[in-house]
């Protein structure tokens, strides 16, 4: 919808105050990696990028530059149909970067990539953001977003659920819980409960603590000269996400 590929039932999207359709140089303002592959398989990577570049009045040298940047130089003249998923994804990113845009939209950029590809994409996103660009990522992979994103926008059933920094998002979750291992748990538990914590003793001689902050746990242990072996935040972005979207999620597995 941002790119004007699909028409919204209502409302509008503007980029720098203009509709995408009305931008004088769309490619130079917004670069997008569209989901799956939106590339003719019979064309070489080079021809594909060159044809798009021509649309935006972009020089040939820039085509070579982006091919080089995404590491496809050695296969630039091969037909895209022969590309692996990761190579196709890199080509899509190259196309998005052609116009040197200030806004980069990446739709599910790590889907189907191997570990190396995922790490590469993550670093690329951070680098693009560090250059002052706005990088707009969409993903269902919460762990990935926790590593990559600064700001989070949660949308469910077509409505905006939340928009805030990732850290705040996790922190505001009510079910903040920690895994605690200590030299003497029997000593620690009463102190924690006095501080208002709820504790559950796990089978593997660790403790799950809720209702208090990590700072409180650490300080109580220090007072007791009780060595902490582990203090792990159990609340992930995924948990926070699930809590927030409860009742809004479109297709949820029925729990028994």
């Amino acid at each position: 919808m941002i790119m004007g590929l699909n028409h919204p039932d209502a409302g509008s999207v503007t980029i720098s105050g203009k509709k995408y359709h009305d931008l004088r140089w769309p490619m130079r303002e917004v670069g997008a990696l569209l989901e799956a592959r939106a590339i003719h398989p019979g064309r070489s990577a080079y021809s594909h990028l060159w044809s798009l570049a021509q649309y935006g009045g972009i020089a040939k040298s820039r085509v070579e530059e982006v091919i080089d940047h995404v590491g496809l130089t050695s296969v630039a003249n091969r037909r895209v149909g022969k590309f692996s998923l990761g190579m196709g994804q890199r080509l899509g990113i190259a196309a998005a970067l052609l116009g040197d845009p200030a806004v980069v939209l990446l739709d599910e950029p790590v889907n189907g990539l191997d570990t190396e590809g995922i790490r590469w994409t993550r670093r690329l996103c951070r680098d693009l953001a560090a250059e002052g660009r706005t990088v707009f990522l969409s993903s269902h992979l919460m762990a990935e977003m926790a590593l990559t994103a600064d700001q989070l926008v949660v949308v469910g059933k077509g409505r905006l659920i939340a928009e805030l920094p990732v850290d705040d998002f996790v922190a505001c979750s009510s079910k903040r819980s920690f895994k605690v291992r200590a030299a003497n748990l029997d000593l620690l538990i009463p102190a924690l409960e006095d501080a208002g914590a709820l504790t559950i003793r796990e089978a593997n001689s660790s403790l799950t603590v809720t209702n208090v902050s990590a700072e409180t746990i650490g300080e109580l242990a220090l007072e007791q000269q009780n060595a902490l072996y582990e203090l792990t935040d159990l609340c992930s972005l995924e948990d926070a996400f699930m809590e927030l979207t409860e009742g809004v999620v479109e297709y949820r597995a029925a729990s028994r």
Partner: protein, 271 residues
Amino acid sequence: MTNDVLIRGEIRESPSRAGLRLALRGEWTKFWSVRSTRWTLLGLTLVTYGLCYLSTSALRGHAHAADPIVRVLVGFNFGQFAVGVLGVLFLSSEFGTGQIRSTIAVMPRRSIVLAAKAIVIGGVGLVLGEVLSFSTFLLGHLILSGQAVQVSLASPGVLRVLFESGVDLALMGLIGLGVAALVRSTAASISIFTSIMLVVTVVLFALPGAIVNAISRYLPANISSTVFSATTPSRFQGTPIFSPTTGLLVLALYAVVLLGIGGWLMIRRDT
């Protein structure tokens, strides 16, 4: 591969806005950078020359032939399909592969995309058609040199046939493109295109005479038959027919209507 800060790209400022001029360059690159284009054009050229050789050679030794230019250009009946299919593929393959999304992402004004494609396929069809018709004529002329039956530019209507046959090919490319804009799918577009060209003609002649007489002149296949012929009968297979030039204008009208409706649908539909 590194994740160094991306080098600032060189951008050529020419026009003040991305528009038809730049779109034409992009579509030109796209047109020539798929194998099917080169193979289709090569095949079309070889078949046209080959059929010319076969059918024109058969006239050697004959004392008389009614309309020898028809024999020389017989391959054009095949050529119209080839260029039509090329016009279809130029757009339908983009819908089929998802490429259209990349295209519309760089040029959100879809009418400009379609216009650029129309100019490329129309232009290539015209240039190819003209080069092919005159070069095929030359081949036929050489084959028949010194024979009783001759083809000559001086013969009445021959120059008109050669010129208009090229235009006919270009219009077929545009009609193919228009059909693809309308229905999007390659298979559906090609079957509709061939149905209009062939099947409708066959079916029509099974219908009552009044209907045949009313519709026959509007069929692209019948129009093309008169275009490829130096004799200009007022009837074709017993039914009234347009003059070649009027016929071409009717084909052009088809192309304009199809591209108009197709373009309108392209703008309205999601991709």
